[in-house]
Amino acid sequence: MTQSPHLTLSELSYYYEPGAPAALDRVSLQIPRGQFLAVLGHNGSGKSTLAKLLNGLFLPTQGSVTVSGMDTRDDARIWDIRRTAGMVFQNPDNQLVATQVYDDVAFGLENIGIPPEEMPARIDRALEMTGMSQFKQHAPHLLSGGQKQRVAIAGILAMQPEALILDEATAMLDPQGRREVLDTVLRLNREQGITVVWITHFMEEAARAQRVLVMDHGRIAMDGTPGEIFSQVDRLRELRLDVPPMTRLAHLLQERGIPISSGVLTVDDMVEEVKRLCPSCLSS
């Protein structure tokens, strides 16, 4: 499979008002088709602005954004762009409009003029992909936060997008809801090849991405694999970000003279490292 860039930012700048500081400052970035990219950064770092530029909700002040080759400044293509790169927001309650899950997923399809006879198959498939089929007839407001977000994602999947942009889609959810939503999106990425831009505050979520971007002051401050990014504990702190608990523990062990590798992100990684450093410590 060729890794042609799917989403491309070229020298992209964005100002909320003339004269205000740049929310994004000459950012260039290529996101290959099928990649799962996590974007981290403290509040005000520019990551939400980036999300809104990726599907044409905001238009560049300078530079350009292309989605599957379409320029977001091209008025004639804007609906194709939004259908190609679907967006999920933070608050699930602001995204659901209908009184039944099924109708909610149908809403977007009606909007883009899908013929009624095509809709049931698309809706069923979208609900299946998000594991929400059994809730088809339910009222959205009685679902859990994680289920609501999965309905919101189904609404976008029904439009058959090539990319999903999730702007802190788990920030308002409890741990179970967060897992549900992330697992759903990881599966869509793996099985359907959908490109994912996952904007988050949660390091343990970013740890599951293929690539992690850290934003600061409207620029890309770090770009690499989770292992490369999270091993730079001091740099992350400078950027006012946290590191996963196990990465911090690895750092503390290094300070205690234990030659542990820097790429530790999860409990599994740590167990492996302990095995490597002290084979006699563990019997299995």
């Binding site: 409890d174 234990i258 563990l282």
Partner: protein, 286 residues
Amino acid sequence: MPIVLEQLSHHYRSCPRVSVALEDISLTIHDGELLALIGHTGSGKSTLAQHLNGLLEPTSGRVLVDGEDINQKGARRRALRFRVGLVFQYPEHQLFEETVFKDIAFGPKNMGLTGQQVDQRVREAMARVGLDFEEMKDRSPFELSGGQMRRVALAGVLAMQPRVLVLDEPTAGLDPRARDFLLGDIKRLNQEGTTVVMISHAMDDVARLATRVAVLEKGRLVMQGSTLEVFSQQERLAAMGLDIPDGFKLARRLRQAGLNMADHVHPEEIADALAAAIRGGGGDAA
């Protein structure tokens, strides 16, 4: 003993699907402690929080604040309730005044304090959450960052000088830096003598701050104990769909793999124990 719950039960008559009942909860919140209240979504944590300052009245049982029933009729009722400050989830959604000062002053004004007393209260409350009085007092709360807005909301409750502060998911939706600031504020308030009850899903935050943990499930109090005692019971918590801090998961995995490694709450302690174990080649580690 600032708060004692005696066989507290709460049943909703009208909307059973939305709200959770509480069943026979007996719990003492000790002076000066930082108690974390954990439980699955829908376990009744937020309902319990609203009982602590009389926003809800029990169907049966009592809530005692400093030995007095918070739901008694008459003049004492209001004064008792002022001793317990409740900070809701996403409290910034309840900011409504045109300036930070007015928003924080709302509570103390409502208590009938004089203008000068109110002014003093607002200054103190802002200082306690690290908001500069001169710089912030005239700003609109709505042009602040999410973390600042939340601190304004917290200051509004602190300005009433409660002895007990009840916080419902205080760090939800904040970025790591804002979360660190706020957790620092909470820790300091507790060290300065305010009793804190904190509802949280963030187990690593709980491990970092709490002295004691109480666990709710389906409206019942099912576990309580020191942070170490509660998080050591991973199977029971997992059965309730609850997570534990990563440090406890690690210790358990290492024990299963044959390493003698005890549970610890704080990262420094975990690092000490693990470093000793690795150096000792798997011999006894504390």
